[in-house]
């Protein structure tokens, strides 16, 4: 589950050697936009992400039935779940709800969990990163030790501890995923800020007599937004996968029939033999959505950092 994050944490390194801010803002943005437009991966990613968001937002319009209603639970037996029929495009789920409806509402759940947890992680990570990279000195040391501690525990276990502590709910899953992302955002921002410290423009601003805090918040931080945005997009992919992993460990919403892909996927394992479609669809949904965010994030990064494009 740390997959997507680690990809970026590692590949982000070369990008930071050539930090943003060297070229004038508008010119750089236009160049990036042009690169993005020409990238087929960006289009595919954007298309998937758009479709995902539309489905999530318009779930009640798209889905033919109520989610998690278990309206047809009497048709379920331990060894059989009805497959596709006229009333049910993809058949039923093992709790007697319409599988297609569950998948559609699952998109909504994923979007909410993904966005909220990413925002939380981004916010906390930014605070830590600014403290560390912007102030420096003992604050830097202290913050980085905390980040080290967080990094020294595999993210999954970190998430488990949080989820177990906060109790069993979607909220705890969001917090858990967010906590696991904090050190990544913090490190990314710190590296970006540190690399800007010695740069000419910062020295110039300093020589103009600007206060350090002002330089950090108004000039250096905006210059770091690019990598943060890229990371946030990629973290969304991780979040979708991570929810599934947490479901596997038995955390998440207290209602077993909730429309949530990871939950559906885990639940389907016990019926893999007779009803593989129950595992197939949520698995495909998770993979495609994660793929969409990953493609978009990667293209964004490449657009912002032309060096990697060669």
């Amino acid at each position: 589950m740390t997959a997507a994050t680690t990809v970026t944490a590692a590949t982000a390194e070369p990008g930071q050697e050539q930090p943003p801010g060297r070229v004038s803002g508008t010119g750089r943005a236009r160049a990036s936009w042009d690169r993005l437009r020409r990238d087929p991966a960006a289009w595919v990613g954007a298309a998937i992400v758009t479709a995902f968001v539309v489905v999530a937002v318009a779930a009640p319009l798209i889905a033919p039935y109520e989610p998690a209603g278990s309206q047809w639970i009497r048709q379920i037996t331990p060894s059989d779940v009805p497959g596709p029929s006229e009333e049910h495009l993809l058949g039923l789920d093992s709790f007697g709800s319409d599988l297609f409806t569950q998948l559609v509402y699952g998109a909504r759940q994923s979007l909410v969990i993904g966005v909220v947890s990413t925002l939380l992680g981004l916010l906390a990570g930014t605070v830590l990163g600014v403290l560390s990279g912007g102030i420096g000195g003992w604050v830097d040391t202290a913050v980085m030790r905390v980040v080290d501690i967080m990094l020294s525990v595999p993210a999954l276990l970190l998430a488990v501890s949080v989820a177990a502590m906060v109790g069993r709910s979607s909220t705890s899953v969001m917090v858990a995923i967010a906590v696991a992302q904090v050190p990544i955002f913090a490190r990314l921002l710190r590296a970006s800020l540190l690399s800007q410290r010695g740069q000419d423009y910062v020295l110039a601003l300093r020589s103009l007599g600007l206060r350090e805090r002002r330089i950090v918040v108004s000039h250096m931080l905006p210059n770091s937004l690019g990598p943060l945005l890229v990371q946030a997009t990629l973290v969304l992919a991780t979040a979708v996968i991570e929810v599934a992993a947490l479901s596997f460990l038995g955390l998440g919403d207290p209602d077993p029939a909730v429309a949530e892909w990871g939950r559906m996927l885990v639940k389907a394992q016990e019926r893999l033999q007779n009803d593989p479609q129950l595992a197939l669809w949520p698995g495909v949904c998770i993979a495609v959505t994660a793929l969409g965010f990953t493609l978009l994030g990667e293209s964004l990064r490449q657009a912002l950092d032309p060096r990697a494009r060669r």
């Binding site: 309206q71 639970i73 379920i76 037996t77 331990p78 038995g250 207290p254 016990e270 019926r271 033999q273």
Partner: protein, 562 residues
């Protein structure tokens, strides 16, 4: 060596060759495995690989209370009393016969002769007394609930009670009459005594070996309990198998005991392999890695059968119920509880979530237990009546928290999530909205249900250990509890009295009336006694399922399928 020195081409070639070799090797190894299987099969009984859901906690069953410990223990140890095959009825084992005194205060056992322990020492009256004294004389840590669960709950106390929760001991003394006759004296009558002796926790162990390997030295300090050498490497009983080896977290290996007094084991070797995941157990069987496993999920039964695997069903000796906590204001009203009972279609629940062959339940024990009453009040499925009762009670709509356990499969509750969902869907049809709360079985769920009053409806049950009604209704309703949230001194007293009756014959009417009393009050809805299933490979023969899991593998053989 640095990377630059690595000739890349060689590396790539190497990988390719390795990949090819691997693929070729796979096919080859399949053949080899089949060959070797043929080699070990044939004339002898072969090797029997059974998958357990966890390691045994210890090899000394007197310190244990869990099924996986007992499963292994049953192969190596025997008690004075066993069970009739396929039932929970007590039957002679190490004791050929027994009789109790009029007052129910003393039991005299006639022992089998010519029985030896695996270390070669004799099993006799002295050995029996040594075992009884060993349990009775436990001190300190050994008295704690997790190490002496069954002794505490059945014999109530030790010679020197330490800590709370212990009472006047039931055990008084043990007298060897002669080499093969022994009398156990009790302080109070206990009709379930003989049946209780069939529990593996009370099996006979070699006093010599216990002394030699410091079996009672569970040692260390209080905060660091450690099992003895005896319990980890030298368990010594009289059973058809003797201990081979124990690779923790992996497997226990047993070998046949050549001097066994009864039907000698046909197998050459028994391996109890630990596979904690249920799906993984099924797949290991399908792939031929194991020969059998327990706790087959209801969803897998039909599939495995159609693939040619054998499904053995135990006669259910358990009960699954829906608990209704009377500390919840709405559930205090008997009409609401009756409405819930009428709202549940047990037939649909059984066919939808429980194994085939399961029968709906009418009371808090299966029909095989002494004291089961034919004529208890019943609450047939009638949603209209349920709605009417709710309206009468002033709850035309009602929201109730419903706790259910996750990450667990018990013999009486194979798929709690499905059962929970099925019931809550039925309840919603009569206007009851369920507020779901899934909790990890252990400790969260049990903590909440049994440790606090903060819960509404819940799923729980029990698998009986031996044929004793007190083991069901006594365990459930014997005293005020957080689980049920009611206080009914009359019921508690009736249960206490029934428990103390000296003979089973006298207990029957007492427990029948208690069952009626309980079903009138309706503290919960007994749902069903799910049929527990075992699955075996085609070549496994001679496995006898037992309702109380008294399954000894001396009659098992594994034939080659090839």
């Amino acid at each position: 060596m640095s990377w630059s020195d690595l000739p890349l081409r060689k590396l790539v070639t190497g990988v390719a060759v390795a990949a090819l070799a691997l693929t070729a090797g796979c096919a080859e190894s399949q053949r080899e495995e089949n060959d070797s299987a043929e080699g070990t099969g044939g004339d002898t009984g072969g090797t029997f690989v059974f998958a357990a859901s966890s390691d045994p906690a210890t090899l000394d069953p007197s310190f244990a209370s869990d099924g996986e410990t007992f499963r292994v223990a049953r192969q190596m140890f025997e008690g004075l009393v066993g069970t009739k095959p396929g039932t929970a009825e007590p039957a002679p084992l190490l004791a050929k016969s027994w009789e109790s005194s009029e007052d129910g205060l003393s039991y005299t056992f006639e022992l089998e002769d010519g029985v030896t322990f695996h270390d070669g020492t004799d099993f006799n009256a002295d050995a029996v007394c040594a075992n009884f004294e060993r349990w009775y004389n436990r001190t300190g840590l050994a008295q704690s609930e997790n190490l002496s669960y069954y002794y505490r709950s059945l014999f109530r106390g030790f010679e020197q009670n330490e800590g709370e929760g212990l009472g006047e001991p039931l055990y008084k003394s043990c007298e060897p009459e002669d080499e093969d006759t022994v009398t156990i004296n009790l302080n109070r009558p206990f009709a379930g005594f003989v049946a209780a002796m069939s529990l593996p926790a009370f099996s006979m162990q070699s006093p010599t070996a216990i002394e030699k390997y410091k079996g009672d030295d569970i040692g260390g300090t209080a905060d660091d309990p450690r099992f003895s050498e005896y319990a980890s490497a030298h368990p010594t009983g009289t059973g058809p198998f003797k201990f081979g080896s124990w690779e923790r977290g992996q497997q226990v290996t047993l070998e046949p005991y050549e001097e066994y007094w009864g039907d000698k084991a046909k197998l050459d070797k028994v391996i109890v392999k630990t596979i904690s995941d249920g799906t993984a157990r099924r797949q290991a069987l399908q792939n031929g890695e194991i020969d059998g496993y327990d706790l087959v999920a209801p969803a897998d039964v039909a599939g495995l059968e159609s693939e040619g695997f054998q499904i053995e069903q135990r006669k259910p000796f358990n009960i699954l119920y829906l608990g209704m906590n009377q500390a919840h204001p709405a559930l205090q009203d008997p009409r609401v509880r009756q409405a819930i009972a009428h709202a549940i279609d047990k037939e649909a629940l059984v066919s939808g979530t429980l194994p085939e062959g399961t029968e709906p339940a009418t009371q808090f024990m299966p029909d095989t237990v002494t004291g089961y009453a034919e004529d208890v009040p019943t609450y047939e499925y009638d949603p209209e009546k349920a709605k009417a009762l709710l309206a009468e009670a002033g709850f035309p709509t009602l929201e109730i928290p419903f706790q259910y356990p996750t990450g667990v499969s018990r013999p009486y509750m194979p798929s709690p999530e499905d059962t929970f969902k099925n019931i809550s869907a039925q309840l919603s049809e009569v206007g009851i909205t369920v507020k779901p709360e899934g909790l990890k079985w252990s400790p969260d769920y049990l903590d909440r249900i049994q440790g606090t009053a903060d819960h509404g409806l819940h799923l729980l049950g029990w698998t009986g250990d031996y044929n004793d009604p007190d083991n069901f209704v006594g365990v459930f309703f014997g005293k005020p509890s957080n689980e049920w949230g009611f206080n009914d001194p009359a019921l508690f007293e009736a249960l206490e009295d029934a428990r103390g009756l000296p003979t089973v014959d006298e207990q029957v009417p007492a427990y029948e009336s208690i069952n009626k009393q309980i079903m009138t009050m309706l503290p919960g809805v007994p749902l069903a006694s799910p049929v527990p299933s075992l699955a075996f490979a085609e070549g496994v023969k001679g496995y006898q399922p037992s309702p109380v899991q008294d399954e000894v593998w001396n009659s098992v053989t594994v034939e080659d399928e090839g």
